[in-house]
Symmetry: C2
Subunit: 472 residues, 2 copies
């Protein structure tokens, strides 16, 4: 703990409405949180904790981060007593396939080729738009309860996911996935969606082009995607170098690694978000460092452990200036959309992989969860830190449970003792989506009941159809 | 799901009071749970799930496991509506140092030698009996909320831990730790405690002799411990082969591995519980298989990941018939006493270490959490399965959260999607210790407040004292 916030956070400013602390008569603030511990970033990016803080929210933005005493007289439409809780930026899920919660836990204990060919792609061949909507709604409910305020989704029927974003109140970057096997119309649909939905849901939706992966999208389509991204100012979100085997297969087939393939197609010269990257080789790092665009890698460590892979080379990537965001992948492989768990597992998997207890520390894990993840999605101008002018995307974490006490260092407490279930309140754009663990925007029993009726058809695999064939 | 329970569970029997289903007038049962899914073991030990089950508890034991319909007419002092919940044997923490929750999160991101020499042993040199009591109470609260019903504790001032067991209502196997550096009196104290407390708390307390480890207890003391264990019919609980470095140091110093040292001292011919064992070599397995006593290894995977060690060779050990129990170690290294997390991490760490997605499966993880863990503590005659005649140590897990839906296979749901916070109800000896997440036996705020006052003295390390020196 480092005591009271500095003056720096007491004043408004930054981009946006220039809101200062709101005081005096009338409802000057939409929301005031007082008495919490607050996770703050110093100007150099390092994380510190302020005790007995006060947070003022107005017009969907953080208007002030100050002391509890300073907000005592602020009139607000809504007040939250933050005592015993810690306020921090909402978690960001940098890579998921939210509707795949439908298949959570059905395809277990198998390698990736069986997972795709015998389970997921046969089942996905029967998905309808309504299934996607229901899956996305269930996923949004799960994420709100996990403290996720933003997610990057890469799937099909993405208008349905966008509708779930609108209904849930979450923030999301959405990309409509495509394979080369689907022909050019699928690539066009991805572009059309990205252009139509960009800025939707009061600005909470951003969009990306979403080729599936270098092993399912050919070189010409990848190059065309890069051209479209440049032409339309869109980022690209795709899978690449998911595991070492894919890298070896790419070298055998094309003579280049998947990352080198991306470079050759121009995808490292646009803003690109690469999912997984456990197959990234040391020789790939210069290309990742040298691109003209924003280059980011999303790491979802639970699935890598489950599949028996290595993990993302986070140390080499961050040293090269690549943003490394935390992610869950879809729940069909990860079994949850719990970014909190991803944060803990990233620290554990990194220490284990490098055989080094000093890397990655709790503070470094929190840095990935906040600054890095926001930068990975190109949203660091609006989320990822509690600072005046930023969008009010934040969560409150209960620090009174016996499993987190005593709190010697909130960083260690958050990363190694707290769990997603300790998230008490989730706020996006200043709107409370969950308060004291109660969801305020979504009806889980109704969604679950409708989904349950559809499961027998969705999980039937005897029809012999398959969306695609995996030969990573 | 495999439908209704078979007739086998419908009747009473087994050891104990031979209680059958209680029906008709008068309060024939102390507790009835109806409508839950139940995790049951087939006679061959395999796990299956019965839907819409009914559980009858009388005189602290499971009297019947049957259908909800069959318990509808049973009169009971207390009823729990189990719909939407899963009943399973309470989790067993096979190795911890419960009072060390005091030091949770204070000694982070350091290797084991610094962890012991610069942090833990200096701080432990100032512990008082009251500190130990408060730590144990906080730990018991945490464990009840994690669904733990039994824990094996290895620490100092163990009368204080026993008092916390009495107050909390938990079950525990307790051992008073000793080093050779403390002289023979410490060994005698461990024996005295084990004899005095054996069978206390209405039989909920069992005891063990608790030499610290082969690197802190010399060969003569280990041999004398084995002799005392045989003489008094006591099990032995100790650390050994915690990591590969300890094994290598043992080979360099003594010419034998830590496991071979235990064998040489006679400790594999008594009932022995070995903590960690990540340094067990393939050549150690025959000795572990061949002992005359019950040989068990407790695995606490989170700490191994944190320290950058390998993990326990669970596959080789279970193939050799060694019971492998799940554990958390102390919260000073593990940051939680969350055995649920240990279950998930054991599956993940095993798949990762063996680079094999097929080992260890969700069902195998549940087998470790139930049958294996009970056998590791020699308590498989009374806990670890929901079966008539067993002590009524069980938990209810909420299966209605969006993060666990839909449930295609409860085994995958429990191991890879559910979390400790989903444990809704914790029952030991038929007594409800937590109901709908509310602790019924312990006052966490009072314990935490008293502990907070004592922390500045406990965490001060400038005094230069140290309980012991680590040179594993």
């Amino acid at each position: 703990m480092s005591g009271e916030p500095t003056g720096e956070e007491r004043t408004g400013g930054g981009r946006g409405d220039g809101a200062g602390p709101a005081r005096g008569g009338g409802a000057d603030a939409d929301l005031v949180i007082s008495g919490c511990t607050a996770l703050l970033h110093d100007p150099d990016g390092s994380i510190r904790f302020a005790e007995d803080a006060g947070i003022v929210v107005r017009d969907g933005r953080v208007a002030a981060v100050t002391s509890a005493a300073a907000v005592a007289g602020v009139s607000a439409a809504e007040r939250i007593d933050g005592r015993g809780r810690l306020a921090m930026p909402g978690l960001i899920n940098c890579h998921t396939h939210s509707p795949m919660v439908i298949f959570r836990g059905i395809a277990e204990d198998v390698p990736l080729d069986e997972w795709f060919n015998d389970w997921i792609w046969p089942m996905e061949s029967r998905l309808t738009e309504r299934d996607v909507r229901l899956g996305a709604l269930l996923a949004c409910a799960e994420m709100i309860r996990c403290g996720v305020t933003t997610f990057a989704d890469h799937y099909f029927a993405m208008d349905e996911v966008a509708a779930a974003v609108v209904e849930s109140g979450l923030r999301a970057d959405l990309g409509w996935a495509y394979f080369s096997s689907q022909g050019p119309a699928a690539r066009e649909r991805s572009l059309d969606f990205a252009l139509r939905l960009r800025g939707a849901a009061d600005g909470r939706i951003t969009t990306s082009l979403a080729p599936h992966a270098p092993y399912t999208v050919d070189e010409a389509d990848l190059a065309e995607t890069a051209r479209l991204a440049r032409e339309h100012g869109l980022p690209v979100h795709l899978h690449a170098a998911e595991n070492r085997e894919q890298t070896e297969n790419s070298l055998a087939r094309y003579g280049v690694t998947p990352i080198e393939m991306l470079r050759r197609c121009g995808l490292l010269d646009v803003d690109v978000l690469i999912a997984h990257g456990t197959g990234i080789l040391p020789g790939d790092v210069p290309a990742l460092r040298g691109g003209a665009g924003r280059t980011a890698v999303a790491t979802a460590p639970k699935g890598y452990l489950k599949f028996g892979w290595g993990t993302t080379p986070v140390k080499e990537l961050t040293a090269a200036g690549v943003a490394v965001g935390l992610a869950t992948d879809g729940a069909a492989s990860n079994n949850s959309l719990d970014v909190w768990e991803s944060m803990t597992l990233t620290a554990l998997a990194q220490k284990s992989a490098l055989r080094d207890p000093r890397w990655l520390t709790a503070r470094q894990a929190l840095d990935l969860a906040t600054r890095h993840s926001a930068r990975a999605l190109g949203l660091d101008d609006r989320v990822g830190a509690l600072r005046p002018g930023m969008r009010a995307d934040l969560i409150l974490v209960d620090l009174t449970g016996p499993h987190v006490l005593p709190v010697h260092d909130p960083a260690a407490t958050l990363v190694f003792s707290a769990r997603a279930g300790d998230v008490d309140t989730t706020i996006v754009d200043g709107r409370v989506l969950m308060r004291e663990r109660r969801l305020l925007t979504l009806d889980v029993p109704a969604v679950a009941a409708e989904l349950a009726e559809r499961l027998p058809r969705l999980t039937e695999r005897g029809h012999g159809d398959r969306l695609q064939e995996y030969r990573g």
